[in-house]
């Protein structure tokens, strides 16, 4: 995955950088293989985006961010639409009252445990639901495996 594709709120670790004129500068500010980066937020129209590298907030355009190959860290909070099938814990819902109410009926609220199935449907306590991509992207989740590790600490 490229850094430009990493969802907002996620934590990634840098794998490698493509060579371009700007690459030495990216390395100098600390964007190097093995370094973890937090995707903070995006400007209007999705470009540029803010990233947290070590303790500095850096603004990068999508064109530069796409030079950077990254891996999503397991413990990062991501929109459900980006998630691979598996067990997740709901961390938050980015939406208004209506959406919250509608999802609550399906058994999806903050803290609830859900499973993303291979066919992109969601299994909750109340059954299996087809939610649709738009609403999936409003649900931010964290992998339940990562959550357990956090709890053990």
């Amino acid at each position: 995955m490229r850094l430009s594709e990493a969802p907002i709120g996620s934590k990634v670790v840098v794998k490698l950088l493509d060579e371009a004129e700007i690459t030495p500068k990216l390395r100098a500010i600390g964007i190097l293989p093995g370094v973890s980066i937090y995707v903070v937020k995006s400007a209007p129209m999705g470009d540029p985006r803010m990233y947290k590298v070590f303790n500095k907030i850096i603004s990068l355009r999508q064109s530069e961010a796409s030079l950077i190959e990254v891996d999503l860290l397991q413990e990062s909070t991501i929109p459900l639409s980006y998630a691979i099938p598996g067990e997740y814990i709901v961390k938050g819902i980015n939406g208004g009252f209506g959406i919250r109410k509608w999802l609550e009926k399906l058994g999806i609220t903050e803290g609830s445990k859900i499973t993303l199935l291979n066919d992109r449907r969601v299994q909750t306590m109340s059954g299996i639901h087809d939610i649709g991509f738009g609403k999936l992207s409003k649900i931010s989740v964290v992998s339940s495996a990562a959550e357990k590790v956090g709890a053990d600490k």
Binding site: E19, I29, D47, S59
Partner: protein, 633 residues
Amino acid sequence: MVITVGLIGNPNVGKTSLFNKLVGARQYVANWPGVTVTRIEGATSFKDYTLHIVDLPGTYSLAATSIDEKVARDYLLYSPPNVTVVVIDSMSPEQGIFLLLEAFELGLNVIAVFNAIDEAKRSGIKIDKSSLEKFLRVPVVLTSAHTGEGIDELKEKIVASFKKSTRPLMIDYGKETEDKIREIEEYVEETFNKRFTAIKIVEGDKYARAFLKKDCPNDVLESIPQEIRTSIPLTKYEYITNAVQLSIQRVDETLTVTEALDHVLTHKYIGIPIFLSLMYLAFNFTFKVSEPLVGLLEFFFERIADFVGSETIISSLISQGIINGVGSVLAFVPSIFTLFFALGIMEESGYLPRIAFLVDKLMYSLRLTGRSFMTLLLGFGCNVSTVMAARGLADERERVTTILVSPFVSCSARIPVYLLIVSIAFPNHKAEAFFAIYALSLLLTALSSRIVNKVILKGQSVPLVMELPRYRFPKLSNVLTYVWNRGKHFLEKAGTIIFAASIVIWALTYFPGRGDVDNSFVSMLGKFLQPLFAPLGFSWQIVSALIFGGVAKEVIVSSLSQFYGNTSNIHFDPVIGATLMTFILGYMPCFGTLAAIKSETNSSKYTLFAIFYSLGISYMLSMVVYTIGRWII
């Protein structure tokens, strides 16, 4: 004994504040990266020594990617100071320590300064100084340019390390990389530190290649695999991470003030509306606060002029030429200072780079970057500053574009002219008219940059990597320094160029009719050229004033007030007012700006372009405003 001291560090870590504290100077420090584009020097005495301190532009590494970074690097390469102080941000030290490690490789005599220690303490970060000294093997000083903590200790350490230089740490990059470095070292010319140059070449710095011997075979360079290239910064950062982990105790990440503010101020949808509202508030504030003072000053100057009278040549020269001419401009000083006060708060708080972040996408479509947007914003003070500050832009094409469009950013010299027109033509909508002209100024700048890029400079957009500094609470003394540094230029001009121009205009108004304006050289000139401006509806007085305004825009105010006797005799309808403001916004860069454009681009072609393009576009635009205005009213 003189000790030369170089200050380097990442952008916006407080080098200039530290410099001010060290030498007691008053350099203005903006809360955004790239304030220092050339080096600033100052001296202070300490014990038996004179410390000659050089503040260098901020940089992340000693590779040079823009002119200002090159200033920093070339200074360190060609005239290494006795002591180099690397300024590191205590709150985010990693990137600063990286620069420190590079300075070691250059063989410099280094002191590490961890600045903003007061902020670090407040947020609960604990820094173990002796542990850092052990890891970095150089003297470490914890300072705060804000409170003055550690400044004396820094001076002590500078003297101490001048007497006895330290042997800094050398990083070992592992066998493969070290072999490559040694191989390239063979081909590096005998200039300065060979290892440094070789390391830079391995990293892929194209400037460093200039120091290779002519007989260097090409395949030595071509065959550097990416692992080796990356191993250099990677080894440094591994060392840094380890050192930081063991020496600096950080608190758990909670929502900081900066994050909370950013959530609103750089919001996807409401970020830009907030920016526009803040600008509107700033203008409103300016009018509300300064209006009574401006009125008082105008009244005061008019009274003196009346008192002197204008019966003889001498009394007319004094009352009309000097008091009325210069006074009509000086009366607007309170407005200018209040506007800068409002803008100073925005800049000081760290909000400006956020604006750059918000509008970057827009700037991108104009082939500029958010960085050049900030450079252009400097032009609200004086366009000459933009032209000079454009040195900080990495890309030559972007630099020239920024220089050429800079005159469209409405500088402070135009403020008195707008204020005069606004109070005559739009007495009930002053702030709105002001907001409109500034919005138009931004639009015209954007449009021009598009045209410049289409017509004379063709090319790709440049990358933008920009740091967004922490927000900080504006400190009154800093805001006042900002106001003074921006505003004093205006006062200087009033005493020199505007004073001289007022006397010349007085002479042209007084003769040959002996005080009868309708029968003077000015009226002849104005009436002769007036047909050219008939499509814009300008009177001959306006035409003459515009001609004199080419020297400096404020002169328009003093000309008009002389032609009409004083400012209260001038009347325009709103359409003429709007047309005139539009025309003045762009019609020609003043002499000072033209001289700066000439010297910074080193090209008469660009200078001529700046004159004729701006005349053409503002003429057309004013004609549109006039035609539509007449059609409505």
